[in-house]
Amino acid sequence: MSYQAEISRANPSCFLFLIDQSGSMTDTFGGGGGNKRKADGVADIINRLLQNLIIKCAKSEGIRDYYHIGVIGYGATVGSSFSGYLAAQDLSPISLIANSPSRIEERTKKVDDGAGGLVDQTIKFPIWFDPVADGGTPMCQALDRAKSIIQNWINGHPSCFPPIVINITDGEATDGDPTEKAEEIKRLSSTDGNVLVFNIHLSSQNAIPIEFSDKEDGLPDQFAKLLFRMSSILPTHIQNAAKQEGYRISEATRGFVFNADMVSVIRFLDIGTRPSNLR
């Protein structure tokens, strides 16, 4: 059975994020409404994904290095999007990333007050990445880079829970068809199963956000369809966890979201007992 490996400090897994920083990301995106640019959406999503992953690994004594993380930006150049010493590594232990945001903002969110109402709560929101939009969309080149990073990781961690690559983009590659490049990554495997490639599509289309999809029909445009095809089918335990949270999931559901953030995937990762009333 695949995707059963225990994720632990002795046998960590890895996440590699690919973020589209091309010039087309200055366009507004449909899902958020208003004038939010796709580049703002990408920055917001990657910061939020990192925040959620780090909080998931936080324990009383600090951060447990269940994951190593890399972020590759692609636009005018292709390479690590981190600055400072994190940029020198393809993948860094999650504890290093937790301790190195470029700044920490305070945001207000509405939370349940436990008595049927909502109250404002100030939360700390770390920022690692600011919006960037410059150059073409060398997605194929980014996927090539990802393949080499993931291959190296697997060589050093042959029995790890399979690495997850999350590509955040508007889907408009300028250096060819990325389909085969994504397939090459998906063919890599640890002893526990094939590498997973998920896609987050930020589109200018003013269509309803889609969180996980099991068919191409009905997706709003050709870029969404392309990214859907490039995405791995969700492993069974992730499908089950998503079902338990009320998502409509079938055996064909893929790791693809449209104008949504995929933060829920972090919740579905199994690193220990997760209470149903912790959301």
């Binding site: 400090r9 009383s60 600090g62 951060i63 700390k124 089950n240 209470p275 009333n277 912790l278």
Partner: protein
């Protein structure tokens, strides 16, 4: 001369393989073991959820509170949880924390709770009595009489263990869905009965074994009689984990023999 209920208590616990001793996040109370006499007895175990932080402290607080004053109904449990949650908050917020620890603490700690209160009948020279139990989550109580498993609570089939139990939280706003899932049960004991309080990994093994017509309680009770109980238990758990018959998780076992 007053006659009291006589019983023996034994406890065993082990952290998840790969974790340090101080990373054990289950809890149990009381800590005393051996043979005792008294007119009532309260015991509790709790399994702090590994996805929350300061879960071990929360689990400890729950077990100690139960043993001090058992919860027999939901309103009583609710009022105690409110007080304990405040105590947990002041414990964890003693010093400044990095952003991620602050956010994690805000979410609260989560834990199961399984408590049992035994008392004697005043009329029949300590041969029988009553017990009542409370359960939140998937920690289990087994009552064995002779060769028969007479009670399995709150889970009676291994297939009923889920991936995401509803647990007691130190963040009271997360407990709304808990109150109608608190399970209570009361029944009777007689002399010779054994009670096993176990956290989920061992409970799952116990029920799976029983479903295959085995008598898992004999293995567990055997550790109490062993010359090196802790060492035997540890070796057995590690072997069972290595052969994948036991899930790699914190393990806690309390045994009461009347």
């Amino acid at each position: 001369m007053l006659a009291y209920m006589q019983f023996s208590i034994a406890q065993f616990h082990l952290p998840k393989f790969g974790n340090e001793k101080n990373e054990y996040e289950d809890a149990f109370a009381p800590k005393r073991h051996g043979r005792f006499e008294c007119n009532s007895l309260s015991l509790a175990i709790a399994d702090g959820a590994s996805e929350s932080s300061f879960a071990a402290e929360w689990a400890k607080m729950l077990t100690r509170a139960y043993v001090k004053e058992p919860f027999f109904n939901v309103p009583h449990l609710q009022s105690q949880i409110e007080k304990l949650a405040d105590r947990w908050k002041s414990f964890v917020q003693r010093r400044p924390m990095p952003w991620f620890a602050e956010e994690k603490v805000r979410m609260g700690a989560f834990s199961t709770l399984l408590g049992i209160h035994l008392s004697e009948d005043s009329t029949d020279a300590m041969q029988t009595g009553k017990w009542s139990t409370i359960a939140v989550g998937d920690s289990c109580l087994f009552q064995v009489r002779g060769d028969i498993l007479t009670e399995s609570f709150p889970i009676s089939k291994s297939s009923d263990f889920g991936i995401s139990p509803t647990l007691l939280s130190s963040n009271d706003s997360k407990n709304k869905s808990v109150w109608d899932q608190v399970a209570f049960k009361a029944a009777r004991w007689q002399i010779g009965d054994m009670f096993f309080l176990v956290t989920d990994a061992l409970a799952f093994w116990f029920l799976s074994q029983h479903e295959h017509n085995e008598r898992p309680w004999e293995i567990l009770a055997g550790f109490v009689e062993d010359n090196n109980p802790i060492e035997s238990f540890t070796t057995w758990v590690n072997n069972a984990r290595a052969s994948s018959t036991l899930k790699n998780d914190d393990v806690t076992l309390m045994i009461v023999k009347l």
